[in-house]
């Protein structure tokens, strides 16, 4: 009797998730042979390899496709989108392919990962590699944060259509080549597939379909956080029952064990297992009663054995660990998190948590932990640090926490820091007392900022979650939130802002009249829809909320170092920021030693008496202005009102309208420039490109700029300077001289 547990794509590639290791430990404890397959990291690792990207490059053939677009007189919206991608790939596709394995190596190397310039180069190369790979399956798009296709994950008919789409579903090929052979070698009797994110829905069911074709008799059960929202709905779709045998709702340990025992003993009776959805003998969908929530004190330490721990794109493992399940507060009306693994809030003892850390730290030679919990409970905030220190544990960790004004006094904060806490993320949500009260957050905005001040004083990095557009919230109230965050920006390192979405399993949805939600607009075709568009009777309209949100994010970008410039620590590779914090000890050290250095520029060559464009530059002349295309596309992007992870692709109807209505982009030359040392891409105007071309080491700066008419020579000189500041022109001297003048 063998069990295979699969984490399907797509989750983030910087650390393993906790679902499989928790279940594996539990089943192994009951004597089962369990194999864990993280096919998310497995597929990233394969897709981001030289061999695989060479194939993408060959199949996409960006040179040819771009030449066709460059021959046009004007570009409509769809053509602009293709142009943006193809111009990049035509220029850098080969470099990216050649460098991709090196980029992964850098992210996994202790020495090079913390060399910020190397890190940025590697991060950019990974992103470019993902764009190249995605182009092969366009319009599907795989990024570090998501996987979206033209198929909506809110519609079961579309999900089912995606499962056999060889052209746009990259996982069909991957599963056939890698996952299926591995499963065949194991030959399991029970396969558990964990689906936490919407981005996993299509890949997970794609895999189920392939497995069932190979071995129809194997019991496939689907579990995980996402199913708390959609399993009921999905189970109504008859096709689903040819792909899987059961859904496990809420926490998986109990049902999975019962399934495994039943299969092993040959007496499987699904009707006796709680928290299950399955199809009965006469085709009816059966939902078994809710099981009792587990006492998580009885659970073993998560077991990561068998996961490809060397494949995650970090130099040191950051291991997730759950000290609690559910939320001890559990009252915020917009929140559904605490119901997903519930019901009920449960915790392990402090001693157990410390022991878990001890065991995992020794076994996997890492000191980094992410406490994968909804929020750090007060007793733990007070007692965990001491226990960590008493045990002599040298760890660094981070967690989400509630703004418990009384708990986080200075002493507690200092102890947290001392025990290795590097980052705390708090649900601040709003600076308006009225809005907070309506949310049932149970916090005071001023006291919250005082708390934040104490956390900062202790040297811990602070992340705040903020929400815009809670029903009845006015523009003034939303602006208060923005103002409070900006005023206190020295205390806050990261802000994670979002627009309010109406989630059908939330309290506010059930009591929507009380929140002046006058109308809800379900999409009749979206049978799996969990978020609804709605009409608020007071406060901001949805559109207004979106606008304020966009304004908000713009301000964040210009005021917070973490979001600025080319910093990828936060933007793209979430746990990398935490590792950098741990490496440098504090936010201040990270800012001074790394971020501000990058901002002011360290690797800046100057122009010599005979400037020479550096060899690492690649350029490509384009018939259209790529910079303007970027700008236009990004402004269109911002109009979407739905949670982006559901789909950040423009749907067909909008696309047709954009193609029809948006002014076409006329021909206007530009040059795309790639610096192979940094992997940065820039778009420069023809005049700037002309100057750069003349920097061939034979001319003086004066001779370089004499190509332009006298009246614009001063501008040309500035431009030359800018090119030099980017480090694109070598040989020292000129800049210094220029600055002396």
């Amino acid at each position: 009797m063998k069990v295979a547990l699969v984490f399907p794509p797509q989750g983030h590639f910087t650390q393993p998730y906790l679902s499989l290791p928790s279940l594996a430990a539990f089943l192994r404890g009951h004597g089962f042979e369990v194999h864990q397959l993280d096919e998310s990291i497995g597929s990233y690792d394969h897709f981001l390899s030289r061999e695989r990207l060479e194939r993408s490059l060959e199949r996409v053939a960006p040179e040819i496709a771009l030449a066709a677009l460059d021959g046009r007189e004007e570009l409509d919206f769809s053509a602009m989108e293709r142009y943006q991608l193809l111009s990049e790939l035509a220029l850098i596709g080969r470099d990216v392919t050649l460098n991709i394995d090196e980029a992964k190596r850098v992210l996994r190397s202790r020495d090079e990962f913390y060399d910020y310039e190397r890190y940025l180069w590697a991060g950019r190369t990974i992103e470019q590699g993902l764009r190249l790979f995605s182009a092969e399956y366009a319009p599907s798009r795989l990024t570090a944060h998501g996987f979206v296709t033209r198929y909506s994950v809110e519609r079961s008919s579309e999900i089912i259509a995606a499962l056999s789409d060889e052209r746009e579903n990259p996982y069909l090929e991957y599963f056939r080549e890698f996952t299926l052979p591995r499963l065949q070698a194991i030959d399991p009797d029970l396969i558990g597939i964990s689906v936490t994110f919407p981005s996993q829905a299509i890949p997970a069911l794609t895999l189920c379909r392939l497995i069932k074709r190979w071995k129809p008799s194997v019991h496939i059960t689907l579990g995980g956080g996402l199913l708390a929202y959609v399993a009921d709905k999905l189970s109504k779709r008859p096709e689903i029952w040819s792909l899987i045998d059961s859904f496990v709702m809420l926490e998986g340990e109990g049902p999975l064990l019962r399934l495994a025992e039943g299969i092993r003993d040959g007496n499987l009776d699904l009707s006796t297992i709680g928290n299950l959805i399955y199809r009965g003998a006469s085709g009816e969908v059966v939902k078994t009663p809710r099981g009792e929530p587990l006492d998580i004190k009885l659970l073993p330490t998560p077991d990561f054995d068998g996961l490809p721990l060397d494949k995650y794109l970090t130099p040191e493992l950051v291991l997730p660990l759950a000290a609690t399940r559910g939320c001890y507060w559990g009252k915020c009306v917009f929140c559904t998190l605490y119901t997903v693994i519930g019901p009920g809030y449960r915790g392990r003892t402090i001693a157990q948590t410390v022991e878990d850390m001890q065991k995992l730290s020794a076994k996997h030679k890492t000191k980094h932990f992410y406490l994968a919990i909804e929020d750090l409970p007060p007793n733990m905030a007070k007692r965990l640090p001491e226990a960590i220190l008493d045990a002599g544990l040298d760890v660094s960790w981070w967690a989400d926490a509630r703004l418990e004004h009384d708990t986080f006094d200075q002493e507690v904060c200092d102890m947290l820091a001392k025990s290795g806490c590097k980052r705390l993320a708090f649900g601040y949500e709003s600076a308006s007392r009225r809005v907070l009260a309506r949310m049932c957050k149970g916090i005071d905005p001023d006291a919250s900022m005082e708390l934040v001040r104490r956390v900062r004083k202790a040297g811990i990095s602070v992340t705040l979650y903020a929400m815009i557009g809670f029903p009845t919230e006015t523009r003034e109230e939303a602006e208060m939130t923005l103002a409070a965050i900006l005023e206190n920006r020295d205390l806050i390192q990261e802000v994670s802002a979002r627009v309010f979405y109406l989630d059908e399993s939330s309290e506010i949805y059930r009591r929507r009249q009380e929140f002046d939600i006058v109308e809800v607009y379900p999409d009749p075709q979206s049978d799996l829809q969990v978020y609804y568009d709605f009409k608020p009777g007071s406060g901001m309209t949805r559109r207004e909320a979106r606008d304020v949100y966009l304004e908000f994010t713009k301000k964040l970008r210009s005021h917070f170092p973490v979001f600025q410039n080319t910093n990828m620590l936060y933007h793209e590779l979430k746990s990398h920021y935490f590792l950098y914090l741990a490496e440098h000890g504090s936010w201040e050290a990270l800012r001074d030693k790394v971020l501000s250095r990058e901002v002011s520029g360290t690797r800046r060559a100057a122009v010599g008496p005979r400037p020479l464009a550096v060899r690492a530059l690649r350029t490509r002349e384009l018939a259209f202005d790529r910079a303007r295309i970027d700008q236009r596309l990004s402004s269109i992007d911002s109009f979407t009102l739905r949670p982006r992870y559901q789909s950040d692709l423009v749907d067909d109807e909008d696309r047709a309208r954009f193609d029809r209505e948006l002014p076409r982009e006329p021909r206007e030359g530009s040059t795309l420039l790639y610096d192979a040392r940094t992997a940065e891409l820039h778009c420069i105007s023809p005049a700037a490109a002309a100057l750069l071309l003349r920097c061939d080491g034979t001319r003086t700066p004066e001779q370089v700029i004499e190509i332009v008419p006298q009246p614009v020579r001063a501008n040309a000189r500035d431009c030359l300077m800018e090119l030099a500041l980017h480090g694109w022109i070598s040989e020292g001297g000129w800049i210094a001289e220029e600055q002396r003048r």
Binding site: I64, A138, S496, H571, D630, L633, G669, R694, N715
Partner: protein, 60 residues
């Protein structure tokens, strides 16, 4: 975008990645084209910067 997937035609131009700006021809003919605007502009070209949404990051 729907590039041909199975065709493997030879690129019509040598891949531009091989071009070296340092070895460019002596003159910069473009700069002399009539009507060329003398706009000196340098902008980052990074689609991610433009499209990233903060929620994307928070969700995972």
């Amino acid at each position: 975008m729907n590039p041909p997937k199975n065709d493997k035609p030879e690129p019509s131009n040598p891949p531009s990645a091989d071009r070296e700006p340092a070895a460019a021809p002596d003159a910069a003919p473009d700069a002399k084209k009539p009507g060329m605007k003398y706009v000196f502009k340098i902008a980052p070209a990074d689609p991610k910067r433009n499209s990233i949404d903060f929620e994307d990051v928070a969700d995972k």
